[in-house]
Every structure is written in C-alpha cells, then in structure tokens.
C-alpha cells in the first residue's frame, strides 16, 4: 500500500521523494543566503550580476571561444603542416592560446590597469609591469609549445614507418 503510494508519487513527480526533499532543503538555504545578499545591496545591480554572468558565459563567452576554435581548425586545415610533418599542429596552438586567454581573464584588472588608481593608493605602486609580464608569459607558452611540436616531429621522423 505504502509502496504503491510512493510509486504513484514518483511517477507523477518524476523522481523519488528524496529528490524533492533535497531540493526543498537546498532551496531554503539558498533563499536565506540570497536574502542576506539582497537585503544589504542594490537589488537591481545584484540581479544584473547573477543573470549577467550566466548570460555572458553561456551565450557570449562559450560561443565566442567555440567560434574562434572553429576558425583555428579551418585555418589549420588550409595549411598542410600535418601532411608534411605527420604530427597534428592544432593543440600546439590551442594549449598556449587557451592558457594565455585564461591568464588575461583572471588578471584583467591588473593587466588592463583598470584599478590602477585604487591599487596605487593602497600599495604605493603602479601596475606598469603586468601587461608586459602577460605578453612575456604568452610568448614563452607559444615558444614552449612550438619546441614540443618540433621535438615530436623529430621523434616521428626518427621512428621507422611500419
């Protein structure tokens, strides 16, 4: 009898009662924490943050990097490097590009010097080195990736073709 009731609930609800209980408890905690956040701040601005970050990531950032990747694949397909060397080149471009882009995103306030006035008033220093350092790191990443590629090409050539 009780099992029948549970099965009926699960069929209509779409999951076990535990699923519902977990969501109710979870949403209660979330609602409390959101109330703490929103009661102290500008509601409109906070909504823009939460919705804005989700939209920016899902509908701008991901399509943008997927598009760039597609462009990269198309470009590499036109350069017959693999046919000549036997080693695919794409990930030797992807890896340094991805790492460099991530560093730019994470350290954007410092690299772009957007917060320089405030940073200077606190620390007594300017942000003159960050853009240079980022470019330097990017160059080292591409150089390192290129060297690994060269090493792989040499290794492939040394290996007898079976």
């Amino acid at each position: 009898m009780r099992r029948g009731l549970l099965l009926g609930f699960s069929r209509r609800y779409g999951a076990s009662p535990l699923h519902l209980l977990a969501h109710l408890v979870g949403f209660a905690i979330v609602a409390f924490a959101l109330d703490r956040i929103f009661s102290g701040g500008d509601v409109k601005e906070l909504l823009i943050w939460y919705l804005g970050f989700a939209i920016a990531h899902d509908l701008v950032f991901v399509p943008a990097y997927s598009g760039l990747d597609r462009l990269l694949r198309a470009t590499i397909a036109r350069v017959p490097l693999r046919a000549r060397t036997g080693v695919p080149v794409i990930n030797h471009v992807r890896a340094p590009a991805v790492i460099s882009a991530l560093l730019l995103i994470i350290y954007f306030p410092l690299i772009s010097r957007r917060n320089e006035g405030w940073y200077f008033s606190l620390s007594g220093h300017y942000l003159e080195h960050y853009a240079r350092n980022w470019l330097l790191i990017t160059a080292v990443l591409f150089l390192g990736s290129g060297l690994i590629y060269a090493a792989r090409v040499v290794r492939t050539r040394a290996r007898p073709v079976s």
Binding site: R12, Y13, G14, A15, H19, L20, A22, H23, G26, F27, I29, V30, F32, A33, L34, R36, I37, G40, G41, D42, E45, L46, W49, Y50, F53, H57, D58, L59, V62, P63, S66, R70, R73, P88, I90, N91, R94, A95, V98, I99, L102, L103, I105, I106, Y107, P109, L110, I111, N115, W118, Y119, S121, L122, S123, G124, H129, Y130, N133, I137, L141
Partner: protein, 446 residues
Amino acid sequence: MSVTESSNPEPTAPRLTSRRSSDPSSHRSNRRLVAPFRPDCWRSPLRGPWLTSFLGTLLVPAIGVIALTGFIDHWAHYPQFAGNDGVGPSGDIPVLFHFPASWPSWSYAVTQGFHVVLGLMVVPLVLAKLWSVMPKLFQQPVARNVAGALDRISLLALVASVLVEFATGILMMEEWSIGNIDLNVVHYYGAWVFGTLFVLHACIKLPVVRRAYRDRGVLKPLRDDLAQTKAEPADDGGLAPVNPAAPTISRRGLLAMVGGASLTIFAVQAGESIGGPFRSLALLAPRGRVYGTGPNDFPVTHTAASAEVTSAMTGSDWHLTMVGERTMSLSRQQLLEMTQSTRTLTIACTDGWSTTQHWTGVPLGALARLAGAPEGAILRAVSLEAGQTSQAFVPSLYNDPRSLLALRVNGVDISLDHGYPARVILPNVPGNFNTKWVSELRFEAA
C-alpha cells in the same frame, strides 16, 4: 545543413517552436528546432557522461578545500564581534574553528594561501566542466515533470552562482570594486548559495557518475590517444553527441590542457603566498613584485598616505593611550624601555599574499596587565588611520606570548608605511587585524 557548434543562438524563436509542438520528444519536432536547441548541433566527440563525471570528481575535493579554507578565513576574523568582518554577526552560522595557540604562527597564511591559489587554479577546471555540459542548457523540452523543472532551475542557479563566486573572489584579490556591490557579502553568502547547490548537484548526479565509471572505467578513457578517441554512445542525459565529429584532441589531451592552465596559474601566482625568493616568480600576482632588500622592504597592504597618516601625527608628540582599570599614557621611549620580545611572525592578507618578518616590541599581554585589563576583556586597538573601524581581539589572542605591540622590524624602527610608531602584530589573524599607527589600546569588559 548547419551542424557546427555554437551558431548564434536565438533563444525566443526556437522555444516557441518546441512549446507549440504536441509531442516534443518525437523526431519530427526535433527537426523543427533551431541550433543550438537541436541535439545534433553539439558535435564534440569528447562530451559525454564520463568526461563530465571525471571533471566533476576532480572538482569535489578542490571545492571542498576552497570552501573549508574560506570559512576558516571568515572565522579568523572573529565575526562574532560586530565590525570585525564585513559580514555578520547576525544571520551567520556559529564560529566552528579557531587556530589553537599551539599551531605555528603561519597556519592562517597556509590556509588563506590555499584558498586563493587553489581558487584560481580551479578556474580552468570549472570552465571545462561548464563546457562539457553546455548541450544541457539548450535541451528540449525544458522539463518533462516537476522533478525535471527543479533540476533545471537548480542547474541554472548553480552556473550563475559559481561564476559570481569566482568573479567576486578574483575581484577582491585584485582590489577592484565595481558599482555598489559589497563583494565581501556577495562572496560570503554567495558561497552558501553556490556550496548548497554544488552539494545538491553532486548528490543528485552520484548515480550518473557511478554508471559512467561502471560503463567506461574510472581512468580507462585516459589511456586513449587521439586515434583511439571515440565518442561515448548517446545518453539519456543528452551530454554525448548524437552526431559526433572527428576528434581533434584526446580526452587526456583536454585534461592536460586544463592541468597545464592550472599549473601556469600556480606559477604566476603562488610566489606571493610562499614569499622569499619565490615572490619574484609571481609575475601576475597582485603583490608579486620584489620590493628591495632593506629591512622594511616587504609588501604594504595600505600606505600611510592612503590612511591619511602623516609624520607630524607620529612624531615626538605621539603617545600611546591605554585604557583598562587604569588609564595611562606612554611615550615611544617608555615603550622601548620595557622588556622587549622578538618574534618571527607572518602577515597574511585575506587577498592571499603573505610575508614573514622578525618583529620586536612589547608583548600585548604585558601591556594588558599594566593597564589592568578586566577579566575576559576584549582589546580594541585604535589607529590614527582616517575613518577606520576598530577591531576586537579576544583575550586568548592578545595574551598569546607571540602577540606584540611591535616597535621595530628586522632590527630597525618600523617604517611609516608599516605602522610607525607602533603596530599590533598577532599570530594567525588576517593581515588587516595587525593594526598600524596604534594610538590607543582599550581593554573593554566583554
């Protein structure tokens, strides 16, 4: 036929199409959907339950450590006293942990260093995880039943909250505030939001993860090189592609890229937490620069200029006022004539950087006895700093033999930027608790 990923989504039109169709699961209605809502437009052969499970499995311990060290940081602020932290004390959970007096004075530097450095290192993993589940965002129909709707809502909230949580942490570390947002509050209670949804998500998805590992092995897919990389069979969850493209990278290649990004972030960041010769390697860390070799050449959280403290205020007229059962006034010379103690203590900022120096001064416990601190009194150190809010220190903290009113550092007077004429220095507290330019020590009955 356009089958490429991420063609520009037009969210309104396709939703209407799917809502109008009487049987949304039929093949016919699928054909009427527009990319990215059509399942066959998601073509990466890497996506699937195994990859998402594996990335999630890596995230669980990392997020666990970041959350724990985050709460330790919050509790190290003694948030039970109003004004000590930007958050609390009302509506907060109780303080569950304090660094025991027997722990080394750099314990907080370690936990906070982990919080910030690991937090940054996890960013590539979070973005890879989100990439792996992108088809779910556009899955049609929106929900088949109430449970499905709850899943959908909690997932959307999870994505928004993880992005806000990491963004606020990164912005605080880099001293960049935008608009009227109190980053402290959004980061702290945002952690409750994100943490709750993260735990909920991990519990709900546990059967999916177990099935993926049972079907494909926990580590077995990592053995495949590019030639052996095959798409996972299409699954109920809609993660694996129904129309996979040829792979251009293996799964282990993708994970190596994520790991390489994390290691690069560690390399350009961790030096500011580890300190010493490693500081110069932290090329992008906010406090990574090398300051010089002099005894006062270590990082400054905020300068005397920013605090509006001038050398006129700290000259020979400066006196330390102490208020306990007795009220007294001491000159810097009188303080220097008291029994001095030298301790090696770490300043560790909430932003993650730290620096260890040799401090000389009068133990705060001795000053408490001299002023006649009432039993169990809290100490408020008042600074000359403009507009500063005082912080409360508990007796166990100021009576710790390592806690000093420091007058000298590395054998010389502390510089104005480091808090001349006298600063508080305590073991295992956030850097801003080490009050600079102290003008008054008040022992108040709790």
